[in-house]
């Protein structure tokens, strides 16, 4: 199973699939949660889910220290209140004390909800139906709590979609005094950053796939590659608001990293340039202006 999941992922990476297949939300869901399942990386799964944000409270999903996870892909959930439904993934997370959380995932890539709210009758909105089905399922599996996560490719929360679902739940299913329903939103775009340090090959491939599909967030624009001495970024290790150059180097302690040498090391200030005045103000870091970067030869570094 792990091999077939990997093969599909690789086929997509190599653009061996049709355009329709490449933009399939089922395939994307399978690639993402299949990679989580077969990598066995529960920490990463927990970190991803913890990025989900609730529409009503604005708070993030509280994810336990996950020790075990049961994955169910496209399960058919029955519910006496409404017609059955099929969330894309249902996860049963268990922590070290055997407390369980049921999390339903409804994923959307390039399409909207499959059904919308109606004025009367039983709830018909896709997310509303799934929320109700998960609530019933929580009782069936004996979970301590449940949440529905709306997973999309948006840059920000698709508030109208979620509000429509919550409104239908409020109107039809929540009694006065009940805790109002809430739905969390999460974006596929949060994932590549989290996958940056992943070691499992399938997770590294997943990161490439998401980057290839432009399912990434804005990360800023790096300065261009150059043969000039590297631009160093200095981080204050002491509380210094203003620094008029030259300053007694002995009393200042800096940590530095450069784009050529990302590891942060301590830095001994060498011969003090006498002509430049810098203001740190309240910023925690400042970047050496490239045009006045001293020749690299004058710097000495001590690990």
């Amino acid at each position: 199973m792990v091999e077939s999941t990997r093969q599909v992922l690789l086929a997509q990476l190599r653009h061996k699939l049709s355009r329709t297949e490449e933009t399939s939300e089922d395939l994307l869901t399978s690639n993402v949660f299949g990679a989580f399942k077969y990598s066995g990386d529960l920490t990463l799964l927990g970190s991803f889910l913890a990025e989900a944000c609730f529409r009503r409270t604005g708070s993030h999903l509280t994810v336990p220290d996950v020790r075990a996870c049961e994955y169910r892909f496209w399960p058919w959930l029955r519910n006496s209140e409404v017609a059955g439904c099929e969330p894309d993934v249902v996860l049963l997370l268990e922590d070290g004390e055997r407390r369980t959380v049921l999390i339903g995932i409804e994923a959307k890539y390039r399409s909207g909800k499959s059904s919308r709210a109606t004025e009367e009758g039983a709830p018909t909105d896709q997310l509303a139906r799934e929320w109700l089905a998960l609530r019933a399922e929580m009782g069936s599996v004996g979970a301590d709590r449940f949440h529905l996560v709306y997973l999309t490719a948006d840059f920000g929360m698709p508030c109208e979609d979620i509000d429509e679902s919550l409104d239908e739940l409020d109107r039809k299913c929540v009694s006065p005094g009940d805790v109002p329903a809430d739905i969390a939103w999460l974006s596929f775009r949060r994932l590549p950053r989290l996958l940056a340090g992943a070691s499992a090959p399938i997770l590294r491939d997943l990161r490439m796939l998401l980057q290839d599909a432009m399912l990434v967030e804005f990360e800023g624009v790096a300065l261009p590659p150059t043969r000039l001495p590297p631009a160093f970024e200095f981080r204050r290790a002491q509380t210094v608001r203003h620094l008029a150059w030259p300053a007694p180097p002995a009393i200042l302690d800096y940590a530095f990293a450069s784009h050529l040498s990302p590891a942060c090391r301590r830095f001994n200030w060498p011969p003090v340039p006498g002509v430049l005045a810098y203001k740190f103000e309240l910023r925690p870091a400042f970047r050496w202006p490239l045009p006045v970067l001293p020749p690299s030869a004058v710097w000495s570094f001590s690990p």
């Binding site: 948006d154 840059f155 920000g156 929360m157 508030c159 432009m214 990434v216 967030e217 804005f218 990360e219 800023g220 624009v221 790096a222 300065l223 261009p224 590659p225 150059t226 043969r227 050529l260």
Partner: protein, 190 residues
């Protein structure tokens, strides 16, 4: 294989800049949609390019922009743009690509279609121009020359910062917030 820059690596770098610019502007769409500002130009984000053999200066975009409007403030045309180049040396000196945003306030009832895409580059023309994020307000009554097309403008508010200083969605929100506060007065009923 060395780390030495090549023309190929330079081109790939340019593509990465354009990709991040696109992500930044899509994030801007979403951030402003949360405040009821709707995009006005569909998926379009630049113009003034050319495939002509002799117009090499137009082969690459010099600006990427998004324009927004809201029924709640029909006098205001909002834009967010990235000034990638001063192609024609028109601006006050520009040392780095700029993220800019602005509000162009109409002196009529509403904008309709009476606005221009080049207005997304307005910050570049501000004199004096400050690229430290401060708000710059320019009043039409203070302009020496005006074209007929510009006569409909009452006031222009812009701000800009060097593009590399914006590194996240939160940075973008922080950048836009003062401008959004500034245009609140134009909301009907405010």
């Amino acid at each position: 294989m060395t780390d030495a820059p090549t023309i190929l690596s330079a081109f790939r770098y340019v593509h990465e800049v354009l990709k991040q610019t696109a992500l930044l502007l899509q994030t801007s769409d979403q951030v402003l949609a949360e405040r009821d500002w709707e995009g006005l130009v569909g998926n379009t984000c630049f113009d003034e390019t050319s495939t002509h053999i002799q117009l090499t200066r137009r082969w690459l975009p010099h600006v990427a922009h998004r324009f927004y409007g809201t029924d709640a403030a029909p006098l205001v045309l909002l834009f967010v743009s990235v000034l990638l180049d001063d192609r024609n040396n028109e601006y006050e000196p520009m040392d780095e690509c700029l993220l800019t945003a602005g509000a162009i306030v109409c002196n009529d009832k509403e904008w309709g279609d009476h606005w221009k895409l080049w207005w997304g580059r307005w910050h570049g023309f501000q004199r004096p121009r400050h690229d430290d994020g401060r708000i710059i307000v320019s009043e039409r009554k203070d302009w020496a020359e005006q074209s007929d097309a510009d006569a409909i403008i009452e006031r222009v508010i812009t701000k800009g910062v060097p593009l590399p200083t914006v590194r996240s969605t939160d940075d973008l929100r922080t950048f836009l917030e003062p401008l959004l506060r500034e245009v609140e007065v134009y909301r009907e009923g405010s």
